[in-house]
Symmetry: C2
Subunit: 365 residues, 2 copies
């Protein structure tokens, strides 16, 4: 029913990745459960994920994928309008292990199934094994009857790039040139693969992300496209902010960037939480062999940039921080035609990501 395409590339076949702000059919999520990452049996995280799912479901359909062990619990905690399907995973970051959907101009929908290695494999990956995560994209595509391109040997995660839907892809060198992904490829070869599989002509490189130790600096905590020719980027004037330097550098790099259509990007500033978000309740996280235990007070990668654009809405992280409402205002100003909805997501940040990391959009054909 769903084919695996291993010869051609999407570009050769006329498929492109639409921008997140284009029309969507549904959002996919994974249900969190691993107790060595999520506090207190993952129950607080499950509640936070549920709140994200419900917020999205005000705008469009949501499908949540869950293990057989957690199926009944997940089903019980979500309203009937949200679809629950059984798909096992190693953790719950579907932005990174899920499919990247692509479409053509005559109603065709396909997907790219990137090779996933838990953000660095045996070099600096975050857990082992990652085999179930790496099967998520295939299983979703098979379930939905969507043909997919498998990039065997090319490692990438969906959170590592953004596209504008008009030929431009934005990413970071910190991540895409990392040792744990595609060290056998040059920067030029990586650019070519990105452009072949997303059907783009131009790569805008940001140097660094804000989480070198986790995703090796995914772009989706730093910047995104908000419409063709316009981007948003984190920005702070507080030199004490742990992300001060990276955010300032990224902002400047983007301000001087030219997109595939030759436009100089207009870059909107987005604030950071005023006070660094720090882990609390680390005792509730199972300790396992081979991983440094997490401690109360560890700095969490909390960025308002990790929002999700949906049909008619934007779902934005809230940290119970002084800047929460400023972030909402700034994002509302960027998207005057969408309703901006904040969801409290400290618990998700404790696990290493946020709303964008735990969602994956399927575009309308």
């Amino acid at each position: 029913m769903a084919r695996r395409i291993e010869r051609n590339t999407p570009k050769e076949d006329g498929y492109r990745m639409p921008a997140e702000f284009e029309s969507q059919k549904q959002i996919f999520m994974l249900w969190p459960e691993r107790q060595d990452n999520w506090r207190n049996g993952a129950k607080p995280a499950q509640e936070a994920f549920s709140n994200v799912a419900k917020a999205i479901n005000r705008f469009e359909p949501v499908t949540v994928c869950v293990s057989k062990e957690q199926y009944a619990n997940c089903r019980a905690h979500l309203p009937a309008e949200i679809r629950v399907v059984e798909i096992a995973s190693n953790d719950s970051w579907i932005r990174d292990c899920g499919p990247t959907f692509i479409k053509n101009d005559i109603g065709g929908l396909r997907a790219v199934d990137w090779t996933f290695n838990a953000w660095g494999g045996l070099v600096d990956g975050l857990y082992f094994p990652w085999d179930a995560d790496d099967q998520v994209a295939q299983k979703l595509c098979e379930m939905e009857g969507v043909d997919s391109y498998r990039t065997e040997g090319f490692v990438l995660e969906g959170g590592a790039f953004h596209v504008d839907g008009e030929g431009t892809v934005m990413t970071t060198k910190m991540c895409l040139l990392s040792e744990g992904r595609n060290p056998h490829l040059s920067q030029e070869e990586i650019e070519k693969t990105l452009c072949d599989y997303l059907n783009c002509e131009k790569v805008i490189w940001v140097t660094d992300g804000i989480d070198p130790d986790e995703t090796n600096g995914h772009i989706d905590d730093v910047a995104c496209f908000i419409r063709p020719g316009e981007a948003a980027c984190i920005y702070t004037e507080d030199q004490e902010n742990p992300f001060y330097e990276t955010s300032r550098n990224s902002y400047e790099e983007l301000c001087s960037a030219i997109d595939a259509r030759g436009r100089k990007l207009k870059v909107h500033k987005l604030c950071l939480p005023k006070k660094a978000v720090r882990l609390e309740g680390a005792y509730g996280i199972d300790q396992i062999e081979g991983t440094a235990p997490r401690k109360d007070g560890d700095i969490c990668i909390a960025s308002y940039m990790n929002f999700l654009i949906v049909n008619g809405g934007v779902i934005v992280p809230q940290y119970e921080d002084e800047n929460d409402s400023l972030a909402i205002e700034q994002i509302q100003a960027m998207f005057p035609d969408r309703k901006v909805v904040g969801v409290k997501t400290r618990e998700i940040v404790y696990g290493g990501g946020n709303i964008h990391c735990i969602t994956q959009q399927q575009p309308l054909p």
Copy 2:
């Protein structure tokens, strides 16, 4: 997306179960893997199931549900045209634990999700636990976006009944009045529930099935409807045949039966294997606590009646028995407009069922 309906019944809502010979959209199957039921790591059974899936796929789409552990193996063994989805189960009898699809006259599709207890629960069920099996119907319905009626407290399996699509349901007393299913209900109350959920007016009771120790005598090894007003029934004149008495009694009971429309049934005879099928290679079946070990020479429940009707075809068990071709001829005579296809299924019979037991049809709306 898919609702659970717990108040009304299908009859009240105008939904009926179509007969198997009505138009179908697809067939669902489960992938066999439990090593305490299937010989030699379930590999021969997996091959036999694959052959059944491929035979059906000549006529209509097939979706195979499989555990996360066997997903990759199952996907690798089936052609791309067959859809594979992750759904855990305790064993592989989707006729019995899967949904019974029902439809109305204006394009609506729903399902009945019977309570499943492994053919007798703690009284004389075949394994424990059966919780994953009992979730299969819900998961399938949720995945496909089909609203379902849950019969909490009413135990039934899809192999225990057949309908003619015109108000008649056929079943056995041995099964439906068994102690392990609904002992709190009288025969009249059971009739009413059957008629309410399948939208029928008349129950034709056959006394016994041929496997008292396994399914407590499912009808689908004994008889079925082949079109409105006509049934098929196993029949032999060989008094040494282990199923001689049951088959003769069933045939006579059906010959005197009147259906919901007041028709006297026309009953077609279907032969049994000439030589009893006996288990071989029992050493390859894992022994577990609490179950009497199976032995070489055990009689298997091999009936040609356990065929599946599909769009334009009939998929029929073959046992490498002298009567294999006679069975094909007899079934071809019953279905002159369908292509009859035989598939070797000794291996499936070793596990306790056959083609009808391992399949579940979804009708076209």
